[in-house]
Every structure is written in C-alpha cells, then in structure tokens.
C-alpha cells in the first residue's frame, strides 16, 4: 500500500479522537487512516495514551486542608489592605497637588503691585460717593481731582485715575486698606492674600498638613499590616 504524501497533523488526530471534528473533516480523517498505516499507528497510540491518562487513579490527599480560625482574621486584614492603599495614595496625591499649587501660584511679590490697583478699581463702581472719598483721600494729591469729585458723573473716571497714580507711585498698600477693609467686604477679601504673603505662609497649609499626615499614617499602617500578613503566611 502506497503511503500518502502528507500525514495527519497531531491536532487533527487529537480532535478526531475527541469527536470534535466536523463530520466532513472526520470522514476525510477516517479515509486517510484506512489507507495510511503510519497514521493509524499514531492514532492508536494516541488513543492508548489518552486512556492511560484517564485511568490515572485519584490520589487521596495526605491531609485535611480545612482552614483554621486565623484564616478569618487574615481575610479581614487582606480585604482592608487595598482600601488602605487607595486612601494613602489619594492623600499623597492631594498633598502633592496642594504643594504644587502653592509652588506654582503667582508669588507674593508681584501680587503686591497688582492687588491694590484691582482693589481700588473694583471698589469704585459700586461704592457710594462717600466711600470713594475715603478711599482716595490719601492719594488726593492733585488739585484738579478735588473739583472733579463734586461732579457725580466723574467718580468713576477719577478713581480709576487715582488708582493708576497710586500704582505708579509704587508706595501703595497700607494706605487705602484700613478704611476700605472696614467698610467693604470686597476690598477686605482682596487684601487678605497680601497678609498671608507678608507672613510667608502658604495658602493651603492646613490642608497640606492634613493630607500629608493622612498619607503618612495610612501608608505606614498599610505597610505594617501587609508585613504582618506576609509573615503569618510564610
């Protein structure tokens, strides 16, 4: 009997034995096996191998694998660990972000020159005439401006000019603030960063401190618990 040029692949034989081939393919394999002595022997031996594997006895486990009470505690710890990791990561991220914001935010030095200008300009449109007078009193150097104050329509133009003059002079800050801060919440708000900047304190420091502490505490506790768990498991 002449051997066919190509023999059946191992996978085809294997799937044929498992009955997992489509009927047409299975018929072709069958036809080939009828002709090819070599593939027939391979198929027979493969079948015997599978039979032997299936006949391997089930071994009785050498001991009982039921878990003792420590497993319950370990499980509690193990289930808490991921949450603790997340918490410490969030706290650490918050700390870094706040720190970066503090670092990258406009530094206090340029803020002093721009803040009072905005403060004056912002307060003037909304304030009654009496306020504009108190606010501009210290800067009321030019004579002509005093006449302009009496014209009600000229208030805005005047204070804007006055503000510009103040910043141009560069002396600025403390002069308008006490009175303006007393009477106007808006002006008070604008002055605050200057105080913080003057004392050299970062704006978010309590939150930075809190998030930093949280990150430290949680990562420390996570490490300790994880370490104990690893020791117990070993």
């Amino acid at each position: 009997m002449a051997e066919p040029l190509e023999h059946l692949s191992e996978q085809l034989l294997s799937e044929y034995l498992d009955g997992r081939l489509n009927p047409p393919v299975a018929r072709r394999v069958q036809a080939h096996l009828a002709e090819c002595e070599r593939c027939r022997q391979r198929a027979q031996e493969l079948e015997t191998t599978v039979r032997l594997l299936q006949a391997l006895p089930m071994l009785r486990p050498p001991r009982d694998f039921r878990l003792g009470p420590p497993a319950r505690r370990q499980r509690l710890v193990a289930s808490a660990l991921p949450w603790m990791r997340v918490t410490s990561a969030i706290a650490a991220a918050l700390f870094v972000i706040l720190f970066m914001v503090d670092l990258l935010a406009p530094s206090p030095a340029p803020a002093t020159s721009s803040a009072p200008k905005i403060g004056l300009a912002a307060s003037s449109p909304t304030v009654p005439p009496s306020d504009s007078v108190t606010a501009t009193r210290p800067a009321a150097l030019p004579r002509s401006s005093a006449t302009e104050t009496e014209q009600t329509a000229g208030t805005e133009a005047f204070s804007a000019r006055g503000g510009a003059r103040v910043s141009a002079l560069g002396t600025i800050v403390p002069l308008p603030t006490p009175t303006a801060a007393d009477q106007q919440p808006g002006a008070g708000r604008l002055v605050k960063p200057l105080d913080a900047a003057a004392s050299g304190m970062p704006r978010f420091w309590p939150w930075e401190l809190l998030s930093g502490l949280l990150a430290l505490i949680f990562s420390g506790a996570t490490w300790l618990l994880g370490h104990r768990l690893r020791l117990e498991r070993a």
């Binding site: 294997s14 799937e15 599978v50 039979r51 594997l53 006949a55 071994l59 050498p62 878990l67 370990q74």
Partner: protein
C-alpha cells in the same frame, strides 16, 4: 446518579455563607474539592509535599479572594486559583532536578488510591510502574501543555472549561492538548509502556 440540583443548591448556600465570612461553610467546600485540587496539583508538580502545600495555598487564596468570585462555576474558579498556585510553585522551583522514576514509583505505592470515579466502560488497569511512567512523562512536558493535559485528560474537563480556567482561547487548548498528548505518547512508547511494542526509529 441523583439529580444534581439539590447538590448545587447546597453548594450555592455554602458559597453565600462563605462570602459573608462563614469559615465553616467554606470548610464544607474545602471538603468537597480538596481531592480534586490536590490531584491537579500532584499531577502538575509530581511531588506530594509540594502538591499539599499548593492545595493549602489554593484554599487560603480562595477564602481571601471570595469577594472577587463573580458567580459562574465555583469549580472552575477554584481550579483557576490552583493553576496559578501551581505555576508559582513551578517558577519557584526553578528547574529543580526532576524526580527519578524510582522515587515516583515509591510515592505512587505509598499513596492510598481512591477508586477512579471517571473510569469508562472499559476500565484500564494501571500497574504502579505505568502510573509512575505517565507521571514522569507529564513532568517532562512544558508546564503550559502539562496543565492542559492534566485538566482535560486526567480531570476530564472539556476544551471550553479548560479554556475558561486557563483564560486562553479554545484553539490554544486544542493545540496544547494535541502537542502534549503526542509528546507523552512518544515518551511512553520509548519506554515500552504502549502496547504494540517496537517503535519506529
């Protein structure tokens, strides 16, 4: 065979209780599956002590990881953990010298054999020598092939179940299984364990 439904309902009840932290319920599952897991580990690792360690580790991991069990077949989920533990063991072993045939033979003789529940209509009786030779041959297969052969041929899993356990496509199972079987066949033939005697060169 009694109907499978009440048994599965019981298993479901154990599972739910175990998920709530009930250790006794989980231990009922351990009792049910420890023979299966131990045999998977033993056939994969070829060492009784390593297999016992792997079995213990499997159940500990399963108990800790019950929260990540998303329904479906508990057996497949458990075997997946067992497979991963076995892979870890094999990696840790870092090509420790393979057990000699004599040692395997000794081990097989020492272990008490359970009656084989998967025996077909024509049960093949294995001598201890043949069983040891098969175990030796299994140990020489690459781990990927070995696990598929153990799951499908020793434990009787379907291609689909093996694919789910190993998280690979069914096509991969087919090819690993056929190559593993073929290598094992050649090994057994070489050692005169296949009837038919003389082997082609």
């Amino acid at each position: 065979m009694t109907s499978a439904l009440p048994v599965d309902a019981l298993e479901q009840a154990w599972l739910e209780a175990a998920c709530d932290g009930d250790l006794e319920a989980f231990n009922a599952l351990v009792l049910r599956y420890q023979t299966l897991v131990y045999n998977l580990a033993y056939r994969t690792l070829s060492d009784a002590e390593d297999a016992a360690d792997a079995t213990q580790e499997t159940f500990l991991s399963a108990y800790r990881g019950l929260g990540s069990f998303r329904g479906g077949s508990f057996r497949s989920w458990l075997l997946r953990i067992a497979v991963n533990v076995c892979y870890d063991q094999l990696r840790r072993r870092q090509r420790r010298p393979a057990d000699s045939l004599e040692a395997l033979l000794e081990q097989v003789n020492a272990d008490t054999l359970l009656p084989d529940p998967a025996a077909g209509p024509e049960p093949v009786t294995l001598t201890a020598e043949t069983a040891a030779a098969i175990q030796d041959g299994l140990g020489r297969l690459p781990p990927d092939m070995r696990l598929v052969v153990v799951l499908c041929d020793v434990q009787g899993a379907s291609y689909e179940e093996a694919a789910a356990i190993l998280r690979v496509p069914v096509g991969t199972i087919k090819s690993r299984l056929s190559r593993g079987r073929a290598q094992l066949r050649d090994f057994l033939a070489l050692h005169g364990e296949l009837p038919g005697g003389a082997r082609r060169p």
